[in-house]
Amino acid sequence: MDFLNALVALSNFVLVPAIAYGSQLALGALGVTLIYGILRFSNFAHGDTMAFGAMIAVLVTWGLQAAGISFGPLPTALLALPFAILGCIVLVLITDRLVYRFYREQKAKPVILVIVSMGVMFIMNGLVRFIIGPDDQRFSDGARFIVSARDFKEMTGLREGLAIKTSQGITVIVAVVAVALLFWFLNKTRTGKSMRAYSDNEDLALLSGINPERVVMITWVIVAALATTAGVLYGLDKSFKPFVYFQLLLPIFASAIVGGLGNPLGAIAGGFIIAFSEVTITYAWKKVLTYLAPEQLAPSGLVQLLSTDYKFAVSFVILLIVLLFKPTGLFKGKAV
């Protein structure tokens, strides 16, 4: 029995990737949940908004790289992030002005807005494919690892290595900063408070003189910033491919719903719940168990509960279980 090696293997293959993935999901789910809280519909175009923001980051990164500008050991994409956020804000504000505002004034039913967001999804998807094409794009540079497996083994003398990719470290730090900023904004500033008031009770908020169009505009700005950040971090960690962002829609929605739609804290918790379940259920436990179990009981198979291709099934099953037993999510969400 070798507890230490088991722990390192577990961190390397389960904890570190799941924390990074969970942060990306949490940022995505925060966007979905804010739209749901303020604009009161499920935004199917969210995955493609992320793709659009990330695409601008990729393009700006290429530009910076061509100009010979780099960010030392950190990826250049971080320098490109503010430009990408600006671009994405412009896109969503134009979309809101041309598309969503009309239905808001009509007081259209939420389901109509969902169908409208389907149309926006098509357009954004087409736009991204039109500009950058449907293929994989690599744009990460700088140092690849904070701690590489070999260094770790040399440092500690353990048999198992622990590798932490730069992208994983950055993901967690950026996510923490973004979430801290968001909560400070929502809880401490006047505008943030007016947003929460609008989300809680629209009529009362209107009565007390809150300008709804301003609240909606600020929501879109925040959502664009969160979506772009999530998209860039995901792209740095894995790779940028437009279709993958569309597929992220499912785990992101699962996170937001599991946490309780409209509840920012729930979105973060949901993101980590979904990420940890996906990774633990599709991980082959053989290595960890071999260290833990006595020799004669060592497992012969991979001890993988489900093949990795079924990760959607994991987020989905958790979603169903939570909805059946706690229809408004783990943290109390709202229902329109």
Binding site: F41, F102, G119, F122, I123, G126, L250, F312, F316
Partner: protein, 437 residues
Amino acid sequence: MSEPVKNTLLFAVVGALILLTGFTQSWNAAILILNMGLISAVMAIGVNLQWGFAGLFNVGVMGFVALGGLAVVLFSTPTTPGAWSAGGFGIILALLLGAATVVATVLVAQKMPRGRLRTLTIIGILIVGFFVYRAVFDPNVAAVEAIDPAIAGHLGGLNLPVLLAWPAGGLLAAGAAWLIGKTALGLRSDYLAIATLGIAEIIIAVLKNEDWLARGVKNVYGIPRPAPVVGYEVELQQDPGFVARAEWLGLDPVTASTLSVKLGYSLLFAIVLLMLLWMAQMALRSPWGRMMRAIRDNEVAAEAMGKDVTRRHLQIFVLGSAICGIAGAMMTTLDGQLTPSAYQPLRFTFLVWVMVIVGGSGNNFGAVLGAFLIWFLWVQVEPIGLWLMNLITAGMPDGSALREHLIDSAAHMRLFTMGLILLIVLRFSPRGLIPEK
């Protein structure tokens, strides 16, 4: 202009567009559009049943279409020799054990009193059940997949006529829809949407990964055609009677044989479409159809009138999904192969939604019209886009990077155009081209 005249004109316009393709491009292309248009129309009737009649937001159309395709493989392809004795029965046993685990869990959850004991029992049943299932399942799957993996490696089908597989596709999709509806239909509209979106992805994941079922991403080829209506080109070209008839029409035998095969499919698809359209029309006008629309427009009032909303929703969810399954079976028959990686949600779920909404949700003829029109555009936007890009870039110097990029990207105009059409229709004519009466 009176209503019937306007509607006839709309259909005539779409017909003329397809004829125009025949005259300007090729008749093979025109009939291909017609065939996929017919299949899309069947899907649109299914979605219209769920959304237009009952207001159910199902974005898992792709999953049911794929199940229809699976049914074709399971019904009409030849059985793999030795697969059943090697592991087929073992797989069935494993699946039954898995189902028994789920049933036992549900029973325990319902019958035992709440408390720690129940939770522990449920967890125990699930864990033991899962490992027993995997212990039976894995070796049998390995045995089946080891049989001649280059051309088989799966159980194969029942070798029945392929036309029988179409209703079977409907039944398979209906069965899946019943299971899904039982768990997910109580949810609010947007939760149901996410749930169905997820189920469709899971169905595709199963098709891609379970090689013993339908060879996964290795695809199943050589699905038999519905003879004698649809023949094989080579046989037709060798038939002197057919060659003589082709010459009499002034066509060379090769073109004539490809056209004849495609027209055979068109005939079969048209028969299915007309039957389903007739049934959907009768349903819409019946008391049942009025009840459905009453439920859609005001659930609470309908419930107060004694209507069982949940059961009616389940009923129409199963019916609509079955129709999508039939369409999926028809499509796989037309392709002659099952390609799980070809199922994309944008193409098989959201495009069908665009068809229904553009055509007119709640109106069967609207859904059919939308299906033909949108499918025509989906096919033709690409050449039109290319032509447009060539026009725009005509002034640019040859070999300029922007020009090349624009021309290469013309293929992606499709999604953009579909989104634009959907948004324009929703904004300026939200009830569609042929609105509900």
